[in-house]
Amino acid sequence: MTLIDNWRYSLQALVRHRLRTGFVLTAVAIGVTSVLVLTSLGEGARRFIELEFSALGNEIMVVLPGRKQTTGGSIPLYGNSPRDLTIEDALAMQKVSTIKAVAPIIAGTSLISYQGKSREVITLGSTTELFSVRKLQLSQGRVFTIGTSTVAKPVCVLGATIKAELFGNKNPIGQWVRFSGQRFRVVGILEERGESMGLDMRQMAIIPIAAAQNLFNSPALFRILLELKQSGSEAYTEAKLRQIIKKRHEGEDDITILTQRAMMNAFDNILNVVTVSIGAIAAISLIVAGFLIMNVSFISVSQRKQEIGLLKALGATGAEVRNIFLTEALIVVGLGVLIGLALGYTLTLVAVVLWPFIPLAIPWWATAASIAVAFGVGLLFSWLPASAAAKQDPVLALRGN
């Protein structure tokens, strides 16, 4: 049999057995699509976590009061401090040459109320730098431009959830709210953004640091955020910071310094678990898809034993029979893979448009693996029954067993 006749014969068989071809095509397409969609979910989760971190900024250091070992566990949110960090410490840090911006933070909870509505809210007292260091965007209004001055200007920026709860759809800008009794004017609303570093920014209120000192009646800093001019200078900066604190804290560098890198390491465990999960999801869906393709291919070829017997009786060699069925499998699986890829990528794209906050993405290796499995399994399980039937004496195949 010539190559052209081989393809013509195989194509004809596919076109004229529409139902059977449709089944195999669907099995392959669904198999490939499910692998792509499932792995894109896992990969989306992984990227979500990674993005949360990179949103923090690449050259961020966090200084916590008190000495605490970071052993790669969770991030110490509150250090035990024998000696408080103060605004003056933060101002001293600003003199280190590698530091671009310093954002000291005082934190506490207060009762925020507006026209009879009230709720508890975590209140951060900080400077204008906080917004740039934490990359906080506003959806409404403006940030307050107040540094570390001692003037306690009564203005505040609210998280999106707080705004929604207190004001609903009303324009909050310029309104007066009360923080534990003290009046503050709302100047801005934070853009909706998820949690980062264990702090849900939607549930926060930010006020000038001097105002926070008054509100909580304490100069102790919760932490200091530092932004470096460039990455790679963490070690130098850390040494400098410790020198400064040692000088200011009577010979004790009783602070804990977290670098972005250290925090990333703490989350590596999570990322590893997620990555392993994606692998498992991919493996399971590949196996399921493989079985699906295997069964449909096997059955569809087994149904044609009589045809194989006849071809053999007419003088077709086993190799010619195998070629015919491999060609058929190649065409069907090829088409099925194309459809599956198109479907999988389209679904993922649609999902990305519908839910932009989940960064769904199909990993390239999932695409490669699904294609490989589809072709491997599809061809193998067309080849096996065809080859088995072709090896028999034709009488057996002619009888259809």
Binding site: R16, L314, D393
Partner: protein, 233 residues
Amino acid sequence: MNPGLICLKKISKTYLVGEQPLPVLKSVSLAINKGDYLSIMGPSGSGKSTLLNMIGMLDRPDSGEYWLNQKPTSSLEEEKRARLRRDHIGFIFQNSHLIPRLSATENAELPLILAKVGFKNRRNKIAKIFSRLGLSERENHLPKQLSGGQMQRVAIARAMVLEPDILLADEPTGNLDQTAGLEVMELLEELNRSGITLIVVTHDHQIGNRAARKLTMVDGEIVQDKPGHDLDR
């Protein structure tokens, strides 16, 4: 020496029916010359179809030797036997064994495709044979659109396109009414007269007695080998 075109020596074949071994051919020996017209008759289960399948190399004997054209075939591997089938043997089955999705022409040209004959040559050849067999108006019909006689004639066309030395027919008239059956037999005999060795398996004496040489099988053995003239006709 192994005279003739076909030479079977002590061919035996046993099938397993459930647990029970069932000897279908018991040491059958047979020589057939080129151009012979043979009928094999006998009750069902007597082994006549199995004998035909042995001659056509569709089946493999448990023991014994089969020489085709003075060459031993029993030890050949399946691929070589396939080639021999293609080049020397044409089959006609009781139920035609046409591929349902292929048209009459496409079914008949299968052996030509396997023999790597080009498309145009194939179609010319089939057209000639079809007009000889009265199938010209049916060339694009699917098997399900053909009558039993027409299907069998397509099968005959398929068996003769490669001009084989041997034509093997297993109950070729089994599914046909008498008129269609006779037409098919006359066609086969015409091919025989042009030099093709014809072997017909049938349980129908009227058909069987038309042959020049009549074998009768009972229980896996040839019990009668009547050469000579069709006196019973």
